[in-house]
């Protein structure tokens, strides 16, 4: 009846025995006080812990808020904070939080729809997880032993490198001997030539190649400021603070604007809208964090030892005098042989470094992520194209977000996160970093990346390797539980009606 419903408003069935209109008293949860049953849900907070008003907002913000219990017939029962009861907004899908004496809105029952939507969502997740788990298991089979394979490769390569190094040393000795021979002969000839020349002439004036380029420009920039003539004692004030004022002499208006703007934004030296400053407006706004292109300096390093060396070798050859052609050709041939072998050795060493890193790396529990090694994924999100290579590098367009240094596993949930660190530095701030959470799915896909805090990126990566048999069975259980709960809530509701 109405009286019973009043007392039990917002109470979960499991607690109904305490909220019964035929009892004369009610004991607060914390047992500190016993009050008359009339004072339950009477819009006054009597219990210090707030337990006497489960169906009103009278205790909202006091004590231990257990929340208003929404029966949600046709859906899933939930609890909402006491602060939501009769506040003019429908929070329970059955609208039961808004039908008290203080309530002012009529809420439609949306529980059936919500439960259906939730069921559909759950079904979809389950389908994906099932497919994903199957794929993971298959790939795991393929990937089994990959680390061992890499180890074998590494060992073999180490051995080959040892041999190669011996050969390089030998070639170097030969080249040096040939060069020494060449040098000796050349020096002898040079000495001869010089004596000859000295004898021949003392005529030519010693017109050395004077360094007439770049004469030091001693003329100081004159300060062109000649205002402030104060002829007739007129109060012409000159309060130029000059160079001390931190102004940059000769700065244009625009440059000054940008410089001051950059105080607020640590955007290297670019103002927020730098791409637009030239005036032509192509509607292509520079993002607030438009960055200066730092060039390819890093690519040089990453492209390996051998490339650098061959550039160096070429330069050296060009500089080399070639007086005695025969001897020189001989020495040069030897040198080339050595250089070629040396380059091969460097390549092998690069390869070895890579292999060692691969072998030593953590691929998550049971090497579950090992198949992702060497793969990269790209996705356009908002204005940027992001790429992430698990166990490699992540980028936002050309900006490096960091290298994948670790797989973090949450102890409680077992969920995995790839941590990318030491990306491009933020001026006056940390280096960029990315935490990529792995979510179970039937395909590998970079799902989202955001920048919740400046330069600390967070994203989600969908992958079968985050799936597991447990996850599939958990989802199955969840689905069964949903069906069970929906049925129970409907039963409770119809019982309440009676």
């Amino acid at each position: 009846d109405a009286r019973r419903r009043h007392v039990r408003r917002g109470v979960a069935p499991i607690d109904h025995h305490r909220f019964t209109e035929t009892h004369t008293t009610f004991q607060c949860d914390d047992a500190s006080t016993v009050i008359s049953i009339d004072r339950v849900n009477d819009e006054y907070c009597d219990c210090v812990d707030g337990s006497d008003e489960p169906g009103t907002s009278a205790c909202a913000g006091r004590g231990n808020d257990r929340g208003f219990y929404c029966v949600n017939a046709g859906g899933v029962a939930t609890r909402v904070p006491a602060s939501r009861v009769d506040d003019g907004v429908c929070d329970c899908c059955d609208g039961s939080d808004e039908d008290g004496e203080m309530g002012s809105v009529k809420c439609a029952n949306t529980c059936g729809e919500e439960a259906r939507a939730r069921r559909e969502g759950l079904m979809k997740t389950l389908r994906e997880a099932t497919r994903g788990e199957r794929r993971r298991a298959k790939e795991a089979d393929k990937a089994r032993g990959r680390r061992e394979e890499w180890k074998r490769e590494r060992d073999a390569l180490e051995e080959k490198i040892g041999e190669k190094r011996k050969r390089v040393d030998k070639l170097l000795r030969e080249a040096e001997e040939a060069e020494a021979e060449e040098r000796k002969i050349r020096e002898e000839e040079e000495a001869k030539r010089r004596t000859l020349e000295e004898m021949k002439s003392n005529d030519d004036a010693p017109n050395d190649d004077a360094p007439n380029d770049d004469a030091p420009n001693a003329a100081a920039t004159t300060n062109g400021n000649d205002e402030g003539d104060d002829e007739n004692g007129r109060p012409t004030e000159e309060t130029t603070a000059g160079e001390d004022a931190g102004e940059i002499i000769g700065e244009t208006d625009e440059e000054r604007g940008k410089r001051i703007a950059s105080q607020w934004i640590s955007n290297d030296d670019a103002p927020p809208e730098s791409a637009e400053e030239t005036g032509e407006d192509d509607g292509n706004d520079a993002p607030i964090d438009a960055r200066v292109d730092e060039g390819d300096a890093d690519d040089v390093v990453s492209s390996g030892r051998s490339k650098l060396r061959s550039m160096f070798d070429r330069a050296r050859r060009l500089l080399k005098p070639s007086r005695d052609e025969a001897l020189a050709a001989q020495a040069s041939k030897r040198r080339d042989a050595h250089d070629a072998a040396r380059r091969e050795l460097d390549d092998m060493n690069d390869k070895l470094d890579e292999l060692r890193a691969k072998v030593d790396r953590d691929y998550g529990p049971d090497d579950v992520l090992i198949s992702l090694s060497g793969q990269c994924f790209e996705q356009k999100i908002d204005k940027y194209t992001y790429s992430a290579c698990p166990f490699g590098e992540a980028k936002q367009d050309d900006v490096r977000l960091g290298k994948n240094v670790a797989v973090r596993v949450d102890d409680a949930t077992g969920s995995m996160t790839l941590k990318f660190e030491n990306g491009e530095g933020c001026w006056n701030g940390p280096s960029r970093s990315l935490a990529l959470a792995l979510e179970c799915s039937d395909e590998n896909r970079l799902a989202s990346i955001e920048e919740p805090s400046r330069c600390e990126y967070a994203g989600v990566f969908h992958t079968p390797f985050a799936c597991s048999p447990t996850m599939v069975s958990n989802l199955e259980n969840e689905l069964a539980e949903l069906d069970r709960v929906v049925a129970a809530a409907s039963r409770d509701a119809s019982r309440d009606e009676l």
Binding site: E43, S83, G88, R234, E238, T239, R259, R454
Partner: protein
């Protein structure tokens, strides 16, 4: 802070010239005073104004000599005005700063009784009894409060600091250069200066905005205690130098100061040239008086706290007239009443704007907005408004959206509205120079931009969007046009629940001198920027607020501004700009907000958490506990800071922050009542202790504690790692809010504090009303019942008021049925509710008023009756009296506060 970007008195030529008051050898035809005494000659006397001429002493005759015209008038509201203008070339008159009556209405002026005697003219305002004695040689004006004895409230030109550089006819080269910027200053020097002495005062307050102490420190000492202004270079006596001085005068010039210091006389984003002086005599009488210098040009103020000689101040402005309103007082409340009668009182804020605001530079996209909004509900933390900073726009073209991240703004706002919440977007006064941007194009075609010093070409300055023009909001036509831009069909994606934030309106010009406009730029009517600078931001704020008011069918607008001037209180709130996540910035926010309050601009607050930098959990938590009491309560953060929504600092801190924000919401009925009082009388919402306890010499400099209205004293924790704080309670009975423990003041003691504690004391003799149910927003609280808090004095008495209206319209101003003001009293163990008496303002019409909120609880501190039943004779109901410790609660009377009744405790 980059000091080299900004001028000092030394590098501001007018200040350097005028500060010392040293006589010059140059043409006395162009300078009045300035080291030479001036004499006044009565010119005319009429019923409401006395006019005099001022000439240099020693000038031969009046014809041909330099001269200025003085008008002395009095106002029915109490102020005495002394206005000095250049006879040859009248100075710029600021418009729309004073309220219309003061600006135009003769009947706002008091009728004068004038008596002339040897060497002086006595003027008495018939309605008020305020008097002014004009001394003719040297020229000086002494102002006396009604009924006061022989000590004047304030004396104009007691020290001979008067100076006026008169306009010149011949053209000349008057240019002035700073940091590579040349100010052509075609009109030549037009500086003005004067001094005001407060003979009784020990402390002066006001002249915001700066981050410094509440009681203003001396900037300079006199060479002589009796006469002259810093004259010569001679040695001062020991007694004159015994107080340290800042050296640099206080500056008022609205500037965008990057990373401002936490203790500096340097002027910040806004200026109010209004100062209050206060002193206590040996016989414990108190006198408070004030001065308002009605001039929006750049100015500096020297302060000299001079022991028994009172406080001397010297005011120096770059241009404009000397237009001084002396506010005779004699109480802090009366000074503010007299001041706000001139410049207006706080407009009634929409109720939602007193809730908590969540801001960040920047909430990135619609999903971010959704998640943050959801975060508040998930953590059961109330808030009312979510803010979007500059990144939400399409390339800093204000009133547009970056469609990549905000594709459906209207839907986003409507979603917030569905839970009773609002949104704010930023709109700044610089307009991106882009022909394809309709707002830019339209204003350009209409000639609505500020002009270069040639008077014809649009000024081009640099701000967020790059090259920009600036709307000339000093022009009423521009303001009218601008207001129209906020209509729903003009501002795409807006709804009636979208409100506005005006930033950068000092105006900030990144490549301008001192990061603002050149002083020789030309405004509407050929006015130079130097003449209007400090009011520019207010004009922009006014136009925006007017736009929102129109859009919402005449309901109350909400527009936050950074720049401000005298009169901004009529328009909307301001915040204290770009502070830092630093304990010192937290501490200085109190004197900053308190200073604004006693300068008429009570609706203000500091960014909770500090704008720059990353606050740790303790600082963040302590800042929220202070924010509870800021009249304007907003969390904000710089683009490059870590996220800091209230639930990101660990569970314990989340709980404490939740309590702090909930406490704000619980106090809203009281805070709203205080705002209405401020709207009616000018009294601040958040008050310095001296304002409430003017006779207590121990509180005149207190700035780590404050009053919320009359009823609560708050001593927040401002120190890192504090385990206890020292509290001083002035005379009277006090109750610790948390424990109910009773104290008898005056009393100093330490209170132990944990992270969750904010020492708050209820003042005996007061009553106020709370809404104690936690909710998610102000909208959701609308129908909630009330808790009445009664704190009894030593005689078992207390009183207070409660005001309510619809919280959004202006109907209260014209319809008695649209509001109610209730008087709540407690005496002889009886609690009484009735219509307010005339002394509290109009009672309204409680019977027809729509809000019949029930009183669910009356909480009484200090109750002597011991019975456990209370009865209402009128309804013959009886209620339980439930005691928790020393506090008694009358349980659930459930009587509407709109009804007259008495409840007696047995």
């Amino acid at each position: 802070f980059k000091g080299q970007d900004f001028k000092t008195c030394e590098t501001s030529s007018f200040c350097a010239r005028l500060r010392d008051g040293v006589a010059r050898d140059d043409d006395r035809n162009h300078v009045l005073g300035h080291g030479v005494d001036v004499r006044a000659v009565v010119r005319s006397k009429s019923a409401r104004v006395v006019e005099l001429d001022v000439v240099n002493v020693g000038a031969v005759g009046e014809e041909g000599d330099a001269r200025a015209r003085v008008a002395v008038e009095a106002f029915g509201s109490g102020a005495i005005r002394v206005r000095v203008d250049d006879v040859q070339k009248p100075r710029y008159v600021p418009k729309d700063v004073l309220v219309r009556e003061v600006e135009f209405d003769v009947s706002a002026r008091a009728l004068l009784a004038v008596t002339e005697s040897a060497g002086e003219v006595m003027i008495e305002a018939r309605e008020t009894g305020a008097r002014a004695r004009v001394r003719l040689q040297p020229f000086a004006v002494e102002v006396f409060a009604p009924g006061s004895g022989s000590i004047p409230s304030a004396v104009f030109n007691k020290r001979g600091g008067f100076a006026m550089e008169l306009a010149r006819e011949e053209s000349g080269e008057w240019s002035e250069t700073f940091n590579g910027h040349t100010d052509t200053r075609k009109g030549g020097p037009t500086g003005v200066a004067f001094d005001v002495t407060f003979p009784f005062a020990s402390d002066v307050y006001g002249i915001p905005e700066r981050a410094t102490s509440l009681s203003l420190k001396s900037t300079r000492q006199y060479e002589s205690a009796s006469k002259g202004w810093f004259k010569g270079g001679g040695a001062a006596s020991e007694s004159e130098r015994n107080e340290s001085t800042l050296g640099e005068p206080y500056r008022m010039y609205n500037l965008d100061v990057f990373e401002y210091l936490d203790d500096s006389p340097f002027g910040l984003y806004g200026s109010i040239p209004m100062m209050t002086a206060h002193g206590i005599s040996r016989s414990s009488e108190t006198i408070t008086s004030g001065v308002y210098f009605h001039n929006p040009s750049e100015m500096y103020v020297d302060v000299n706290v001079d022991g028994s000689n009172g406080v001397h101040t010297k005011w120096m402005a770059e241009s404009g007239a000397i237009d001084v309103f002396i506010l005779p007082g004699t109480t802090p409340g009366k000074v503010l009443q007299q001041y706000t009668a001139l410049t207006g009182t706080t407009s009634m804020p929409p109720l939602f704007s007193l809730g908590y605001h969540q801001c960040r530079w920047n909430y990135r996209d619609e999903n971010d907005v959704k998640e943050v909004d959801k975060g508040f509900d998930e953590h059961d933390i109330p808030y009312d408004v979510l803010w979007l900073d500059i990144e939400h726009t399409d390339g800093k073209r204000y009133m547009t959206w970056d469609k990549a991240v905000f594709p459906t703004p209207q839907r986003m706002i409507e979603d917030l509205s569905s839970r009773g919440r609002k949104m704010v977007t930023i709109v700044d006064p610089h307009v991106k120079r882009d022909e394809a941007y309709p707002i830019y194009k339209e204003a350009k075609d209409k000639g609505f931009y500020v002009k270069k010093n040639d008077g014809n070409t649009d000024f081009d300055g640099w701000c967020w969007p790059g090259s920009s023009s600036y709307l000339d909001v000093t022009n009423p036509d521009v303001r009218e046009w601008w207001a129209g831009k906020f209509s729903l069909n003009s501002y795409e994606g807006s709804t009636k629940d979208l409100y506005i934030w005006n930033d950068m309106n000092e105006p900030s010009v990144f490549n301008g001198p001192e990061i603002t406009m050149q002083k020789d730029l030309i405004h509407h009517g050929g006015v130079e920027h130097r003449d209007v600078h400090n009011a520019f931001g207010m004009y922009y704020h006014m136009a925006t607020a007017e736009g929102l008011k129109r859009r919402n069918d005449g309901n109350r607008p909400f527009v936050l501004s950074r720049a401000f001037f005298a009169g901004t209180q009529r328009v909307g709130p301001i915040w204290t700009g770009d502070n830092a996540a630093d304990w010192k910035h937290l501490a200085v926010s109190l004197p900053m907000v308190l200073t604004l309050g006693v300068s008429g601009l009570t609706f203000s607050g500091a960014d909770v958490g500090g704008f720059f930098g990353n606050p740790d959990a303790e600082l963040m938590t302590r800042w929220y506990q202070v924010g509870t009491y800021y009249p304007f309560f907003r969390g904000h953060a710089h683009l490059e800071t870590k996220r800091r929504e209230p639930w990101l600092f660990g569970e314990e801190n989340t709980a404490i922050i939740r309590d702090a924000i909930r406490e704000r919401y619980a106090l809203l009925p009281y805070i709203y009542t205080l705002f209405e009082e401020s709207h009616r009388t000018g009294a601040p919402v958040m008050r310095p202790l001296w304002y409430e306890f003017p006779a207590d010499a121990d509180v005149l400099k207190t700035q780590d504690a404050f009053m919320l209205g009359t009823a609560m004293l708050i001593r927040p924790v401002l120190e890192q790692g504090a385990k206890s704080v020292s509290v001083y309670l002035p005379k009277g009975i006090w109750y610790e809010k948390r424990s109910g423990v009773r104290h008898v003041g005056p009393k100093s003691f330490d209170v132990a504090v944990s992270l969750s504690d904010v020492p708050v004391f209820l003042r005996g003799g007061t009553i106020f009303v709370r809404k104690d149910r936690a909710r998610r927003s102000t909208t959701a609280m609308r129908g909630d019942p009330l808790t009445v808090i009664v704190a009894l004095d030593e005689n078992g008495r207390a009183s207070g008021t409660y005001y309510a209206d619809d919280g959004e319209s202006y109907e209260f101003a014209s319809k008695k049925s649209a509001f109610m003001r209730r008087r709540l009293t407690f005496s002889n163990n009886e609690f009484n509710v009735a219509g307010a008496g005339a002394e509290d303002g109009n009672a309204g019409d409680a019977k027809s008023f729509i809000d019949h909120s029930l009183i669910e609880r009356v909480t009484v501190h200090g109750l002597s009756a011991t019975g456990d039943v209370a009865t209402c004779a009128a309804t013959r109901d009886s209620f339980d009296v439930v005691r928790v410790g020393a506090v008694a609660n009358i349980r659930r009377p459930n009587l509407p506060i709109s009804r007259d009744f008495t409840i007696a405790v047995q």
